[in-house]
């Protein structure tokens, strides 16, 4: 086995599909921060909320396989950028720790599959790594350009800050705001930071899902935000993909870029527009062009 990287990267299914820009910007940001990162070999789907709805045991086993694979590599930190992956992996660790019956089944499965027993792999979220391991001050120092006068709202979505994580305070999270301010973004007050985007609902009970996103977008606008920054591929997708439909339904002039935190940080650190996947946006394309490509004068070099 090759020498282990500090961070193992668990993409999850979304970062290979609709959330590909998250993967691109994440890897770019880590490269610029000189943080060694390596994809977990042969990872499988975390099971997400769906699996839990069908079988708790199977869902835990599915997650456990990833944790076992991570252990094989010798790295301790398993980075799960997707909120759902993060929560699912953390939750399965909790279940194993608290319920001997589940722990036993996991043990049995890993043995059958020829995988090592679980060990203290730390499941980490990107936000947590940026805040704790890198630090706001360091990000401020490393910032090479700033988006002057651009107002953004930070949006966490639900699962990252809920019971199983240490990503941020579940009621009043502030870490993303701190990071965004450090890299030169104006952050607006946003009360709906941890309100759910509906997750898979946009695909299943479409109207309900879209309505939730409408509320999120509208409140961001009311607070004067020009864009929303997210840390979850599903949130980004939901907020990004249905704006045209919302415009049509409500007649409100909503057209707002939805970023990944790593896109904003990566750009501030000097990343290239394409390698940050900024070209993959569906909504707010004009603003994106204006901020990142056309109006170079918006940048100040520090």
């Amino acid at each position: 086995m090759e020498p282990s990287a500090k961070y193992l990267y668990y993409p999850g299914c979304s970062l290979k599909g609709t959330g590909i820009a998250y993967e691109e910007s994440l890897l770019t940001t880590f490269r610029l921060l000189e943080l060694p990162i390596k994809e977990l070999p042969d990872w499988n789907c975390c099971g997400a909320t769906n699996y839990m709805s069908v079988s708790e045991t199977s869902a835990t086993l599915l997650a456990a396989r990833n944790l076992a694979l991570a252990r094989q590599t010798g790295s301790r930190d398993l980075l799960a950028p997707c909120n759902a992956c993060y929560l699912t992996l953390r939750k399965s660790q909790e279940l194993v720790a608290h319920y001997p019956k589940i722990a036993h089944e996991v043990e049995q499965f890993l043995e059958q599959a020829g995988l090592p027993r679980l060990d203290s792999v730390r499941v980490r979220h990107v936000l947590e790594v940026l805040y704790t391991d890198v630090g706001v001050e360091r990000l401020r120092e490393l910032t090479v350009r700033r988006l002057q006068g651009v107002r953004m709202a930070s949006y966490y979505g639900c699962q990252a800050v809920r019971p199983y994580g240490e990503v941020d305070d579940p009621h009043e999270p502030t870490r993303m705001d701190q990071i965004l301010k450090a890299v030169g973004v104006d952050v607006v007050e946003y009360n709906l930071k941890t309100k759910c985007c509906g997750g898979a609902l946009t695909g299943t009970i479409h109207d309900v899902g879209v309505r939730l996103n409408y509320i999120l977008l509208k409140e961001a606008m009311r607070q004067g935000a020009q864009a929303i920054v997210t840390i979850c591929p599903l949130c980004q997708f939901n907020l990004d993909a249905y704006q045209a439909e919302i415009r049509k339904q409500t007649g409100e002039p909503i057209d707002m870029p939805i970023f990944y935190l790593t896109q904003i940080v990566g750009w501030a650190l000097g990343g290239d527009v394409r390698e940050l996947g900024l070209h993959r946006a569906i909504s707010g394309k004009k603003l994106i062009e204006q901020w990142f490509t056309v109006k170079k004068e918006a940048e100040t070099y520090v």
Binding site: G17, D42, N44, Y51, E56, H98, T204, A244
Partner: protein, 189 residues
């Protein structure tokens, strides 16, 4: 007219008792019926019964009423209620448990896409190790309501032109390891 009264023989108290033994459901009996869960839930506005009522019904053993409710399927697992609950009841896990029982007992609302999606998803993941977003949504739509595909066309196009739509069927290499995971629908208790 439908009879609204509930006779005590319809209450499955043994089921209710067993329910509180499951992981995450242990604190169910602490519920003080304050409604914080319902008030917090971003989806409670669409629910036929509120999460608080779900807990009350579970506690009193009205199994069928709970399992056939739309509420459990509307839960998006955002965990807001679990974080806010003053009695630290893990309501999300209660919902998961109810979803599983509903699927096993085949009592979920027919043509209601969420259980279908969940099953599709699990089947795909168990066979291939990964979920291919496109194919999953496609198959789910076929099984629940093919008409929905039309409305999805626009989103599909948006994704395709920004390079975010992968039609590849993803598959892990050591897929054989997954055979030791029991088929999801087999779960009992």
């Amino acid at each position: 007219m439908e009879r609204q009264i509930r006779y005590q023989r319809e209450a499955d108290l043994e089921w209710a008792h067993r329910f509180t033994q499951h992981p995450g459901c242990e604190r169910l009996l602490s519920c003080i019926q304050c409604g914080t869960c319902s008030g917090t839930c971003p989806l409670s506005i669409y629910m036929d019964i509120t999460p608080r009522q779900v807990i009350a019904m579970v506690r009193e053993g009205f199994r069928d009423d709970v399992l056939k409710s739309k509420t459990i399927w509307l839960c998006a697992s955002c965990y807001a209620c679990s974080v806010e609950c003053p009695q630290k009841i893990n309501i999300t896990d209660v919902m998961y448990r109810l979803k599983r029982e509903a699927i096993q007992n085949n009592v979920f609302p027919k043509r209601f896409p969420i259980p279908v999606l969940a099953q599709e998803f699990c089947e795909m993941v168990r066979r291939r190790g990964r979920n291919s977003e496109f194919w999953m949504v496609f198959r789910m739509a076929l099984r629940s309501n093919p008409a929905i595909l039309l409305s999805m066309m626009r989103t599909g196009w948006d994704l395709w032109r920004t390079g975010r739509l992968s039609m590849r069927m993803e598959r892990i290499q050591r897929v054989n390891e997954l055979q030791y995971i029991p088929a999801a629908t087999k779960e009992v208790d």
